[in-house]
């Protein structure tokens, strides 16, 4: 069992690029694959209308690639995503990432109304936590660091709690460090503030 997984991973990771000339990531190939395996939950235009599922439109390509690899390698524990990512080649993953990176970002149709009090508190928490250092001052993200602006509020809150509670880490351990000990109320305010950015 273990050996067959290793063999499959090896085939996916090593044999494929050796067998083909270097193919640049291709957003159109990614679009076709996304329609099959991503759109049902993440939305046909990459804007998720489903609670707990993130929007991917406008996410940096390197971020999407990294997360898909963490799913494929069994290092990020979301069973449905591990299943989707299993056996995917690097090229498929980079194609998907190019497609989502090319889509215009935007909020979900069901974005909650602005709550001025929550917004102000969230803004203060964001400033205190230095979110804009890595995610950039407009929270658009860069490289392996995700876009937060306009992301689903429910997903942001859930994800930040996962980092705080060490149920998830990213390409490094920075987010666990930043979220250490943050109260639920601060997380809720931060999620509201970030989801309201455009």
């Amino acid at each position: 069992m273990r050996v067959s997984i290793l063999a499959a991973a090896l085939a996916a990771a090593l044999a494929f690029p050796l067998a083909l000339p270097a193919a640049a990531q291709d957003a159109r190939r990614g679009q076709a694959l996304a329609a099959d395996i991503c759109a049902a939950c993440h939305g046909p235009e990459g804007r998720s209308q489903m609670p707990g599922v993130p929007s991917l439109a406008g996410q940096p390509a390197e971020f999407v690639t990294m997360q898909m690899i963490l799913f494929r390698e069994g290092l990020r524990a979301v069973p449905v995503m591990q299943q989707v990512a299993q056996g995917r080649s690097d090229q498929e993953i980079e194609d998907l990432a190019a497609w989502f990176a090319s889509l215009p970002p935007g909020p979900p149709d069901d974005r909650p109304a602005r709550n001025a009090e929550l917004l102000a508190r969230g803004q203060a928490v964001a400033a205190r936590s230095n979110c804009g250092v890595c995610h950039l001052p407009n929270f658009a993200g860069r490289n392996q660091i995700p876009r937060l602006a306009g992301q689903r509020e429910d997903f942001l809150a859930q994800t930040m709690a996962e980092y705080r509670d060490n149920r998830r880490s990213g390409s490094d351990t920075q987010m666990n460090a930043v979220m250490y000990g943050m109260p639920d109320a601060d997380i809720a305010a931060l999620a509201h503030f970030l989801s309201q950015q455009d």
Partner: protein, 403 residues
């Protein structure tokens, strides 16, 4: 604000360790830009690349070595490849961080190499070392022993779990290990500080430690070494030497990464108070830097000096014998970029470092402020050639010399 961050860090460092939950290490305190930094606050770690880089995209044509040396690709297609060790039959084993794999590279009869993934799904399995025929892998605090590994590359048996015996802290931040077997048969590794800079238990973090191979007999080899990810024993004096990564967010030129010579077990090398004569502006705590062991050499600010080996081969010219090759992964917390190369620390007969010289360069483009590869470890093969692992491009290069 700063004080609150420090307090959080102290509580964290002092918190009891959760038993062996690989993905559930306690978090470190914030590591981003402090409010009072003079640096560009938008500096952030560079994105790692965890997809396969095709051979034709490796920057071989740009790489430079001294006259008479030559660089070739030894193996490639191994995303995230990091620290290396060699089995008795010549298999190269390599650990990783982000992608959670351990690779094995064997030579084919035609001179090409074959790569296998022999372990995966581990949390930052950076530390690899051979003890006889057995491969040790340390993934943060998990210690795994793969017995008789070279005879079982195609059917890797479940490893022997030695985690409890070693009792390493489970903190992930700066918790990845470099592992080496000493001439005394003990295993030597590092425990980094779980923050950028903070108050912490100085008997538990910022250490070099050694163990018997079963995890018993823990001994502190050096204190006050912030985050070493490279060490080796001098082939003649048998002294332990180690690289160290300095803290972030002071300024572009301070502090420097450093090379440490461990003359006696247990001595204090100064973190977080001092690096040599440099006193930390926030964390010196009134300490006189002369209290501490000074580094044997300074290796440059923010360069990320990682894997190091003494040159014990005979292929290279005599002047390289017993000198130290050091991989510098390259800076993120600095403008402009620095590192991204392999350097040689030159030692005189007394073991004093007389200079640090570039050896393998060409990964860094100063005009464009870009980089291609990131060298993270070196390894001297039995034929005297030098392997260099490039984490960013998932490749291992081989440096040879011809008269």
């Amino acid at each position: 604000m700063l004080r609150a961050m420090l307090a959080a860090g102290f509580i964290l460092a002092a918190a009891p360790a959760l038993a062996q939950a690989p993905a559930a290490a306690p978090a470190a305190p914030p590591t981003g830009a402090p409010a009072d930094t003079v640096m560009n606050r938008n500096l952030a770690p560079h994105a790692p690349r965890m997809t396969v880089t095709p051979r034709e995209q490796l920057p071989l044509a740009q790489l430079r070595v001294p006259d008479g040396f030559q660089v070739d690709v030894f193996a490639h297609g191994m995303p995230g490849v990091r620290m290396m060790t060699e089995g008795p039959n010549g298999t190269i084993f390599a650990g990783t961080r982000t992608i959670g794999r351990v690779y094995a590279i064997t030579a084919n009869p035609d001179g090409t190499t074959r790569t296998r993934i022999i372990a995966q799904g581990l949390t930052q399995p950076n530390g690899v070392a051979m003890v006889g025929n057995n491969l040790y892998v340390i993934a943060i605090n998990r210690v795994l022993r793969y017995d008789n590994i070279e005879a079982n590359l195609d059917n890797v048996p479940a490893p022997v779990e030695l985690t409890d015996g070693f009792g390493l802290p489970p903190d992930q931040h700066h918790g990845w290990k470099f592992l080496t077997l000493g001439p005394d048969g003990r295993l030597y590794t590092n425990v980094g500080v779980p923050c950028n800079v903070c108050e912490f238990d100085r008997d538990r973090y910022a250490l070099l430690v050694s163990f018997n191979p079963d995890g018993s007999g823990r001994r502190i080899e050096a204190r006050g070494i912030r985050n070493s990810v490279g060490m080796a024993h001098h082939p003649v004096t048998r002294e332990l030497w180690a690289t160290n990564n300095g803290r972030d967010w002071v300024d572009n030129d301070n502090p420097q990464d450093s090379l440490h010579r461990i003359r006696r077990s247990g001595e204090d090398h100064g973190f977080p108070f001092c690096v040599g004569t440099w006193a930390d502006p926030q964390h010196n705590a009134g300490r006189n830097c002369s209290e501490f062991q000074a580094p044997a050499a300074l290796l440059g600010p923010h360069v990320a000096a990682l894997g190091m080996r003494f040159y014990t081969g005979t292929m290279f010219p005599e002047q390289y014998r017993n000198q130290i090759f050091i991989a510098r992964r390259g800076s993120w917390n600095r403008e402009p970029l620095s590192g991204y190369d392999v350097v040689v620390a030159k030692l005189d007969a007394q073991g004093n470092v007389t200079g640090v010289e570039p050896f393998l360069t060409g990964f860094r483009d100063d005009a464009a402020q870009r980089f291609t590869g990131r060298p993270v470890d070196v390894h001297v093969m039995r034929d005297g050639s030098l392997l260099v692992a490039d984490e960013q491009l998932g490749a291992i290069y081989r440096v040879t010399y011809r008269r």
